[in-house]
Symmetry: none
Subunit: 259 residues, 2 copies
Amino acid sequence: MVTVSKDHPRYNSLILRDKLVDGCKKGITNFHGLIAHGRGEAFDYLIGESSTTNALAATEVASAYMLTAQRPILSVNGNVAALVPAELVELSEMIGAPLEINLYHRSRQRIEKIEQHLRDFGARRILTGRDYVRLPEIASERAKVDERGILLSDVVFVPLEDGDRSEALKKSGKTVLAVDLNPLSRTALAASVTVVDELTRTMGNVIEFTKRMQNAEDKEVLEVLKSKFDNVQNLKTSYSIILSRLQNLSESDGPLNIT
Amino acid sequence: MVTVSKDHPRYNSLILRDKLVDGCKKGITNFHGLIAHGRGEAFDYLIGESSTTNALAATEVASAYMLTAQRPILSVNGNVAALVPAELVELSEMIGAPLEINLYHRSRQRIEKIEQHLRDFGARRILTGRDYVRLPEIASERAKVDERGILLSDVVFVPLEDGDRSEALKKSGKTVLAVDLNPLSRTALAASVTVVDELTRTMGNVIEFTKRMQNAEDKEVLEVLKSKFDNVQNLKTSYSIILSRLQNLSESDGPLNIT
């Protein structure tokens, strides 16, 4: 473990890496999760490593969907469990949604470790796909969803999800709320609402928005938020943000490096 | 191990990930290498996950440099060894260049494992920095180069190299041929020729170009290729490719189609 000063320009980024490497050592995260995280890091750098106004708007809409859902559910994989366990539990309690463990690289052992990890953070309602059914349209292990969980849900919050699953969830008629730093990914394109932002920042924002909107007098505002949102426009704005940042970077003088 | 269908839209990308994860399990690649690979993936997305005309032109020039070098050498790190061992051996034999193992996170054990791995793929000339000297200008372990290898070389092929080393190699007067998906990296800026492309695609192209040019009647053409090349222009074109791709996406009408 390397001690990192809070003044380090990439402090937050290094802390996240440590959490994931730690997750790897515990058997919660797997190697593929590290690669996926690296990809996200590069996009985060291009976005500017902060929540854009555009991302905040999408996050607000995602919160509105979760608050108005009949049966919301929060999907958890190895990276998500390593990065935001406490936030997941808080959101789960706030909106009355169970956590469903869904792994790209599925194994009984990893599911059990993640389940215990979430329980350590106070999770009470966890589904593990012990009684699972398969979503049509995907052939792999990723087709599995819990028959008491995602199968019955109307709104699924899927942070850091893979493209196959996101597309299958969308095709099965669910509202898919994704968190993905890559606005070009298949998940980003398939989702109903794509929050193009880093997960720990997003979870903080989701919890804040949900708390505020939960107490709002006029529930009508949630429906307006949902109906006004256009995910294609949201993604196009994300491309523009990266575009203008790259334009600035390529025109700047000093040495450039993604560390 | 997940079986991936060849029809999967991200088949190639997933195969590369498997190779690196496999490298990690064998002790060839390390955690940081996985995260670095993920960062490369992000740029490959932006480029379009194929070799651009611009990248092919740079690859051709890199091949010309290797074919006309007095003492060419191929630098190998953990990711490179995991991704393209067979291609490295083929190129090494074709141009009579040894392989030199140079690790960012250097350890005797990893060097030995990579050496054995390369031998398994038929490598005959491997340098491991057992007799090393230090390049000036870097303080860390990365300063080490083999005194029979990189130290004496005139042309160094350094795929996926870090910025410090690339800069030090360039300052020591060598022709540095880099492969880096991030056209903004310090390696990309420091190199004599930067191939902005994914490594497995690049190695296939390098081998094809080298074979073709090796048999060319007129060796003069290689000198023309070298003298006409402008790496600053090459990098600017790489920025433009990403920028125009993002611009098209951000301005497109109707649903987005990335591929």
